[in-house]
Amino acid sequence: MTALNRWLPLIAALLLAALPTVLSSYLQDLVLRIMVLAVFALSLELLVGTTGLVSLGHAAFYGIGAYATVKLSPESEPGNLLILVPAAMAAAGVYAAAVGALSLRTKGVYFIMVTLAFAQMAYFVVHDTKFGGGTDGIYLNLRPVLALGGHEFINLDDKRSMYWLALAALVLTYAALALIRRARFGHALAGIRVNEQRMRAAGFATTLYKWAAFVVAGMLAGLAGFLVAAKDGFVNPEMLSWHESGAVLLVIILGGLGHLRGAVIGAVSFVLLKEALSTPALVGNLLAERWQLTLGLAVMACVALMPKGLIGLAQRKGAGS
């Protein structure tokens, strides 16, 4: 039981890798979408679940990653993955470094609001200026490729390549975060979440730790942003809006805070729940049109019945058996 539990992420990853061979193109897209959201959610989980820093501006880094991808792609030839991925992560990381340095002076709800403020500023910069293409957003003319020495290894125009790239990103993100949480760094972050005062008294430079976590989370969000830009070939200011930040926060709360699996489960269930509730073929025309109502009620039921999020449910079952 525990052994299975331990290897579950790996098994899931292998299953996911095999899926494109059996799935229809639409379902493959759906899974792709979930994986990208999962990367985004995982990046926030490092902040919220692990470090206890609730950010309502995480979409800014996601959006910046996406915009950087589009902006740095050449007009008329495909951009190179080897440049674009680091660039997107770096762009998001740089902004995160600045925002983190300023906002970590504050705590709790104030922190929530300062991160929101910085995200909104980024939002308005892309929304209201020519630079970001205004409200309409901008297109990525050609999807990125992985080219080395004139040879093209991966072309994201191919749906499966895109899928596997996203899967690779998810696996790497998950693994990186799992390592972090297992390492002393992660333990220190957890300590900061529970009792920062004590951590300082013990000798941890907590601000530095939090800042580092903030930057890492920002960079991973940038990675998710890159994936979206490459997948959709289109970026829009709304990617940076607080709705987006809020949505990803909801995903990890729904999944259950404090567990990497929670973030992934949250992403899966959120997308599937909404998808199911708004698909006429599944729930009938009448209900599908009222998906907001059913989704709202479903989430309320989740909150009422599952104090620890969906992961709590899985764990309780695990403990019982």
Partner: protein, 290 residues
Amino acid sequence: MDLATFAVQCLNAVQYGLLLFLVASGLTLIFGIMGIINLAHGSFYMLGAYLAFSLSPLFGPHFVTMLVCGTLLAALFGYLLEWAFFSYLYQRDHLQQVLMTWALILVFEELRSMLVGNDVHGVKPPEWLAGTVALGELMTYPVYRLFASAACLLIGAALWFTVNRTRLGMMIRAGASNRDMVRGLGIPITRLYRTVFAGGVALAALAGMIAAPMSSVYPGMGGHVLIVCFVVVVIGGIGSIPGALIAALLVGFVDTFGKVFFAELSGIGVYLLMAVILVWRPEGLMKRGY
């Protein structure tokens, strides 16, 4: 900008600030003082606006009576809401409230769409407030806006008094920090919080009713005010009512003059203000000394 225009702009700023304060007052109570992260505040505001829309034909000139009735209805609604959806969340991680209130927004929006449809509506101010006063040679100023400003101040003062000067207010604040201890002193916290929550909903709805004749009534109207309300409450220092007032006025000024001088980037203004203030004073402007 000549002096007269400047004066009028200042008046605009103050008036907008007061309106923001009115809308944020309910949030100060529920979020600032009770400590519930309530995303559905905008929905309560919308509820008020739609109440005004559906009640005003019934009440005609008895505008104040309508306000009272609407507020009571909203309070009752809030009372039930707390019982059904919030009473068991206090012991849990605060973020669960985020999820719950977000889900409530969805449900509210859909119910509104089912009950009153998706059209835009206007609400007429009562006859006795419908006039305007002249302002300079070209402009006039609606009397109703002055009425709304006065109402804001009145409500703000009443709220401040209740929270800071009455035992009820002290109990509410005490409950936010240590529920168990409050119970140990013989105060039925469950009922108390239910009532206060109802009060917060009522305030939001009252703000919606007062704002309806000025702002019109339309789907999604709650979402637009929500963030600004949070900004106001937080800049002011969570839980501080005078702080919220000052913050609301500041936001009013920044917004008004931002639009005039930096139209291109005026959206940033309010958030820049918040970021600067919080980086400068990490606990808001008027955080209580303790």
